[in-house]
Amino acid sequence: MNIVQVLVNSLITSAELGLIAIGLSMTFSILRFANFAHVESAVLGAYLVYLFNVTLGWNFALSILVSTLILGTVGLALHRFIFRRFANSGDITPMIASLGLAITIRHGIQAIWGPQHVVYDYEVLPGNKIFGAFITDPQIWILITAVSAMVGFHCLLQYTRIGTAMRATAANVDLAQACSIDTQKVILLVWFIGTGFAALGGILIGWDTQVDPYLGFNLVIPIFCVVLIGGVGSVYGAIIGSLIVGFAQNFGLAFNYAPLINLFGLLDLGDRFDLPAAYKPAITYMAVVLILLIRPTGIIRKEVS
């Protein structure tokens, strides 16, 4: 097994999950409900880039920029017209509303663009060879974006006034309001950044793989797992969560368990026992079960103010 390739694969998987998970974790902590439509806005963003880039023939980078901004605005509109009215309805009502919204967006996309996948106007090439492992340009971009997002969100939260306001709102809305923080403004900003960033994540994943209407549907549960493993409301948690899931998925399949099991003298499995690939989705769920049983609020505990 090419261990460098497995390592690179793990990093890419982590980055792809992390891209969307960071935004979801942030919005989750401030909006206080599980927004199932978050990942669907990623798909919508990816399709908008397809519209601009392929159908209208725009420049790829421009398409990404415009699409991200449009989705940010869509986020504001969602808040204004739908989710604002749930401010006092607890967390379950907006969650089911977001489920309805997710169904609407997903199938609206299918009605417009059809169920077949689409790809951007981009020439796929064999990856660059680094230490015997292949990594492609889109994948490098995904890594760069994920790391910049990580740093960017860190700086935003730690060194800007609005970031402080966001952290305060996430910790305690009433207290933040008492400290004359305009929580409405913070919530609007979170919708804008969160949705826009989801779109960026969706676009990059679509660039690396393909865009189809079920892109989000197949990602939504793994991404919620990542966010909760890391701990809701923590950007670092989202990063750690995505690293755990990404590495577990790739190394979980690559690992030979035979020496380990034989070591305990339980069974004699010969010299090779691999986890069947059919159980790959189970790796994420196992991680969730193990980690949440040990740390019930995720790896990064939310600081109590």
Binding site: G100, R106, H107, A282, Y285, L293
Partner: protein, 289 residues
């Protein structure tokens, strides 16, 4: 005409089965605040238990009891992981447990023929009537539980663990009992589901089914049995009723199919926007002073 009645009976049966699953979820979420995102696992495990027991030649009624027992046991096991975990955290944990169980059924061909699933070749006489009567019985039982001192305590647990703990209530035990009852009712629904379709496969336990059951509970009105039944009927009408769109609008079927879901999604969202507490919200129990 006779066939139309047959379709009506089928719809009533399947709605009753899902009403059971929804009421079971409502006991967990609406009464006890347990955000179970893995509700469908009770149905799947119940259905598989019936299928496996039936293939072993066990009496159909005994199969139903076995299903309830197995699902209740699963509920107990799931409740042991709750501890003091926050709502959504346990939600994702329960979803993970449900998916792990589903993946075992999917991948282990020796256990239940893997993805191919199992056929259930037994029937019980007056099946639909049995389902309807069972549903009424479940409603009765849950109504009594809601009004009982037990129901009062679990509703206090819904708001948080600390107060009931301070008052000397063994919160974990209450959650365990809630999950056991919820599991048993879910298992009953699953057993009937297997008997209705004569078949069960891992695809019947996909997470999407859980979310549809959640929509039934929340759209109907959590905390109100009548509301939950109304929600089940509403969602069921959305999904089955929208099939008749093909007879009304003349659009290409490949486009109509996603549009049908757009409509379903919009209606779910609309109910939530204009009736956030559900169609028939939880009612306050008023005592005469």
């Amino acid at each position: 005409m006779e066939q139309l009645i047959g379709f009506g009976i089928y719809l009533v049966t399947v709605t009753c089965i899902f009403a059971m699953l929804a009421m079971s979820l409502d006991l967990q979420v609406g009464a006890c605040g347990l955000m179970n995102f893995g509700q469908v696992v009770f149905m799947m495990v119940g259905a598989y238990a019936t299928a496996i027991a039936a293939n072993a030649g066990i009496n159909p009624y005994a199969c139903i009891v076995i299903s309830m027992a197995v699902a209740a046991l699963l509920g107990v096991v799931m409740s042991l992981t709750v501890k003091n975990m926050g709502g959504t955290y346990w939600g994702i944990l329960s979803l993970s447990m449900a998916e792990l169980i589903r993946l075992v059924f999917l991948n282990e061909r020796w256990l239940a023929d893997g993805a191919n699933g199992l056929s259930v070749l037994i029937t019980i006489p007056y099946f639909s009537l049995t389902v309807v009567v069972s549903t009424l019985f479940v409603i009765l039982i849950l109504r009594v539980i809601w009004l009982s001192p037990f129901g009062r305590v679990i509703r206090m647990i819904r708001e948080g663990d600390r107060l009931p703990l301070a008052l000397g209530k063994n919160v974990l035990l209450f959650k365990l009992e809630t999950m056991a009852i919820g599991g048993a009712i879910g298992g009953l629904g699953g057993s009937f589901y297997a008997l209705l379709n004569s078949y069960i496969s891992p695809d019947d336990g996909l997470p999407i089914e859980t979310f549809i059951i959640w929509a039934m509970v929340v759209v109907g009105g959590r905390g109100n049995l009548l509301g939950v039944v109304a929600g089940t009927v509403f969602i069921q009408i959305l999904f089955v009723g929208s099939r008749f769109l093909t007879h009304i609008v003349d659009i290409d079927a490949g486009v109509l199919a996603p549009l049908r879901f757009v409509l379903i999604g919009l209606l779910i969202m609309g109910v939530m926007m204009f009736r956030p507490q559900g169609l028939i919200p939880e009612r306050k129990r008023v005592y005469r002073i």
